[in-house]
Symmetry: C2
C-alpha cells in the first residue's frame, strides 16, 4: 500500500498538467476541455498503465480482481472522485490449471492451448483421443447423435477482422456453444480455433457454456498457428486418424465475492438522474487487461474528470467499473438489482479497446432528435460520424436496459481488437496513446453535454 | 512412415507442376528456370510446410531433430537427389524443463519467461530474489565484483528492427554473455529483455555461455511486453525492492547424436569441386523452425533442383542441411572436420528467414571480378543489388572458411526476422509465399551459374 500510495500521488500529476495545458486555471468551456484532452490527456493512460503495471491480470472473483478493485478505489479517491465504493456481490468462480496439448500421431508435436471458462478437467493424466474436424458450428450440429463418442471435436471456423467487431457474432458461437454441442453428441473433449484474428501462439480464451442436463467436458482453444497446423495435418494424413493428448485441469472455486467499483462527480442538482459511464475492472487471466478493459475504465474516468473541468456539471456523473464482466456479467446484473429503483438519465460504456471512435449512435434519435443532433454535431470535429442504427449499450449497463433508459454507443475501431482479445498479448504496449486521447476527447464532449442537459434525455 | 511416404508422394507433384509451367518438358535455359521459379515454385514451400507440419520443432540432439533429419532424407530421396545421407556426429545436449517467472512484490503478477540454452536449473522450488536492472552489458560489466550477490540481474537493452539484421550484433550480447557476467559478479540468476523486435508474450530463446571457471546460473529471457512491464515497475517502485520468483528446471542430457543431412545433384564432371548450398535442419524448440531454418532448407534444395532443370550442371551441387546449428554450430564443425580434404568450389547459405533477397556480395570481387560481375548482372532483374562488402558466409559453411574458399552472401530482408527469431511464433503462417519464390529464383540463378562455371570460382 505504501508503493501504491506513492504511485497514486504521482498519478495525480497528469490532471494538474492537463489543467495547466488547458489554461491558467480551468478550461473556459466544455469544448475547450475536450479539445485539450485530444492533445494533452494523460489521465486515461495513467489509469491503464497503473493498473496493468501494479496489478496486472484481474480474473473475476479472485484475489487478483480484489487487488484491482482496491487499486481502482484508491485511484478514484486520489483523483478527487466522490462517493467512491466497492459494492460487493457473490458469483461462481472457475480458475485454470495446467494446460497442454500435443499431437501424438501421426505427426507428434506440441500445440498451444488454453481452457475456456467453465471447461471441465481432463484430470492430470489428460485425455488422448482422435480429433474430428468440423468447419462450423452448423456442421457440428449436423453430426449424428452419439457419433462423437470417445472423440475430441475440433471446430475450425475462421474470424476476419472487422472495424465494427461484427465478426465476433459470426465466429464467436464456436466458443460460446461449441463445447456444449460436442458434449451432447458424446465427445470426450473439444478444442476450437481461437476466436481471434491474429497469428501468434497465444490462444484466445473466454467463456463457454453447457446446456441444462449436458455434463461439461474439457474445452480448449488452440492458438491460430496451431489450428492452421492441425488443419494441414488433416490435409496430409488422409484416412489416418489424428490423435491428440489434451491436459486441462481447471477447477471450480465455488462461490466467491466480487464487487462493483463506483465513484462520482457530484452534480449541481443531485436530485436529477445521473449520467452513468461504465467499463469493467476484471479481465481474463492470461493478459493484463489493458485493452479489455483497463483502457475503457481509464477513458470513462478521464472523461468524467475533464467534463467537470470547465465547471461543476448539472447532473452527477457516475463511473461504474463493473466487476466480473468476463465470466457472465455478474457485476452488471448485481448493479442493476441493487440500484434498479434509482433512475439513470443515460448510460454509455467503453469496452472495445482503445482505438479511435468513429461512430456515434443513440436510442433516442426519434424521441429526442434535438439532443441526438446536438451530440452528433459536437463530435463531428473529432471525425466521428453518426450511424443509422439504434444504440443498445455495452454489457455493463444492464441497469439502463432494465430501466428502458437512454443509451449511447460510441463505436471504437475494432480492426485489431480481436488480435488481442482474451490473450496473453492484452498488454499496455498495444495501446496507441494518440488514439486513446481521441477516445477521451470524444467521451469528454459527450459526457459533458449529457451532464449539463436539463431535460429528460430519452425524451418524452 | 506410411503417412510420410504418402505425403512425400504428394510432395513430388509440385516439381512436376513446375516443369509443366516452365515448358513442354524442361526450361530452355537457366534464366528461364529461374524466371519460372519466381512465379511457379512450390518446392521450397512444400519442404517448409511439410517439415513444420509433419515434424514441427527439431531441437538439436533430441529425437525430434532425428525425426526432422529422417524426414529431410526421405524428402530429398523422393525429389530425386543422389547420395542422400545422414552423417552422424556427437554433441552436448541441453533441454528445457518447467519455466515460470512472477513478480512477488510490490506488484505481484506472472511474467512469461523461457530459459536460455545452457542455463542452470533453479530447482523445482525456484529462486526468489531482488531484481537489479542494468540497461546494457557495459553497465553490468561495470558493476563491482560481488555486488550482485544474492540478486537476479536484469539486462534491459533494446533491439531495433534492421533490414540487414545488424542490430543482432548490438543487442545479442545481452543474451550471449550477460548471464556469464552476472554469474561472475555473484548473481543467483539472470533475466534479459528478449533479443527481439516484437511485442508479443513470446520470449526469444537462444544460447548463452559462461566463461571458463564461472559456475552457470539460471538464465532466462522475458517476453518484451513483460520486460516493459518490469521497467515500469522500477519507475513506479522508487526505492522499494522488486522481488521475482524464477523457476527454470532445464537439464543436460550429456552426449547425444545429431547428424548432417546431405544430398546431391551430381554434375557432369564429378571431379570438379562442388557448389555447396547450406541451411540447418535443427530449430529451437519453442517454434516449429519455419523461418529458422525450414525455409532456408526449402530454398537451397529447390534452387538446386531448378538449377538442374535446364540440363545437368557441370559441377555437382551439394545440399548440406546441417544438424545442431542453434546450440553451437556442432554440425558445421563436424562437416568441416569430416570433409576438410574435399575441396569445395564455393559455399552459400540460407539462414535468415524467407523474405526477399535484396543484396549480393562475394569474397571474390577482386580475385575473380568477371564472375562476380556476371552474377551481379544476372540477379539484377530480381531487384538484387550488389553490395560493397566482402561475403563471410553463414554459420553452416565452416568448411569453406576453413578451406579459405569462395563464398557468396545473398542477403535477405531481415526487417521482421527478429519479430519471430527463436520464439514460439516461428510458424509457417509467417512465410510470405511470394517473397519465398523470389528467394528461390535468385538462388536458382546463382547456383546454376556457379554450377556451370568451368574455372576456379575464387579466381587464381
Amino acid at each position: 500500500m505504501h508503493r501504491l500510495a506513492l504511485a497514486l500521488a504521482a498519478a495525480s500529476l497528469p490532471t494538474f498538467a492537463f489543467a495547466q495545458a488547458a489554461g491558467p486555471q480551468t478550461p473556459a468551456t466544455l469544448e475547450a476541455s475536450a479539445d485539450a484532452a485530444l492533445t494533452d490527456d494523460v489521465l486515461a493512460w495513467d489509469f491503464v498503465e497503473g493498473i496493468t503495471t501494479e496489478v496486472g491480470p484481474r480474473q473475476a472473483g479472485t484475489e487478483a480482481e480484489k487487488r484491482g478493485r482496491d487499486w481502482a478505489v484508491a485511484w478514484l479517491n486520489a483523483n478527487g472522485f466522490a462517493n467512491v465504493a466497492d459494492e460487493p456481490f457473490e458469483m461462481d468462480t472457475w480458475v485454470r490449471g495446467t494446460e497442454t496439448a500435443e499431437i501424438v500421431s501421426p505427426y507428434p508435436q506440441p500445440f498451444h492451448v488454453a481452457a475456456l471458462g467453465t471447461s471441465a478437467s481432463t484430470g492430470n493424466r489428460g485425455i488422448t483421443a482422435e480429433v474430428v474436424e468440423f468447419d462450423s458450428v452448423a456442421a457440428l450440429q449436423a453430426a449424428p447423435e452419439g457419433s462423437l463418442k470417445g472423440k475430441i471435436a475440433y471446430i475450425s471456423n475462421n474470424m476476419t477482422p472487422t472495424q465494427d467487431g461484427s465478426q465476433y457474432g459470426f465466429a464467436g458461437p464456436a466458443r460460446w456453444v461449441g463445447a456444449g454441442i460436442a458434449a451432447s453428441k458424446g465427445a470426450v473433449a473439444s478444442v476450437i480455433k481461437s476466436v481471434g484474428t491474429d497469428y501468434h501462439r497465444n490462444p484466445h480464451v473466454g467463456g463457454t457454456s453447457f446446456p441444462e442436463g449436458v455434463k461439461p467436458i474439457p474445452a480448449g482453444a488452440l492458438s491460430n498457428p496451431d489450428a492452421a497446423n492441425l488443419e494441414r495435418m488433416f490435409d496430409r494424413a488422409g484416412d489416418t486418424p489424428i490423435t491428440m493428448k489434451l491436459v486441462l485441469t481447471p477447477r471450480d472455486l465455488g462461490t466467491t465475492t466480487s464487487g462493483n467499483v463506483v465513484g462520482e462527480i457530484v452534480g449541481r442538482d443531485p436530485s436529477l438522474p445521473p449520467v452513468l459511464v461504465a467499463c469493467h475492472i476484471d479481465s481474463w487471466d492470461l493478459g493484463t487487461g489493458a485493452i479489455d478493459d483497463g483502457a475503457g475504465c481509464g477513458i470513462v474516468a478521464a472523461a468524467a474528470k475533464h467534463a467537470a473541468a470547465a465547471g461543476q456539471p448539472l447532473r452527477t456523473i457516475r463511473v461504474l467499473m463493473a466487476g466480473a464482466e468476463e465470466t457472465g456479467l455478474w457485476g452488471s446484473e448485481a448493479y442493476s438489482k441493487a440500484h434498479i429503483d434509482e433512475p439513470i438519465a443515460v448510460g454509455l460504456e467503453s469496452d472495445f479497446g482503445a482505438d479511435r471512435i468513429w461512430k456515434f449512435e443513440s436510442n433516442f434519435a426519434k424521441s429526442n432528435p434535438d439532443l441526438h443532433k446536438r451530440i452528433a454535431a459536437a463530435v463531428a470535429r473529432f471525425g466521428v460520424s453518426t450511424g443509422t442504427g439504434v444504440a443498445t449499450g455495452g454489457a455493463d449497463i444492464n441497469i439502463v436496459r432494465d430501466q428502458n433508459g437512454a443509451i449511447i454507443d460510441l463505436s471504437q475501431d475494432g480492426t485489431r481488437y480481436f488480435d488481442l482479445h482474451h490473450t496473453p498479448d492484452d498488454t499496455l504496449d498495444k495501446i496507441d496513446p494518440e488514439q486513446l486521447r481521441q477516445n477521451v476527447a470524444v467521451w469528454t464532449q459527450v459526457v459533458g453535454l449529457l451532464a449539463n442537459e436539463p431535460g429528460p434525455i430519452k425524451g418524452q
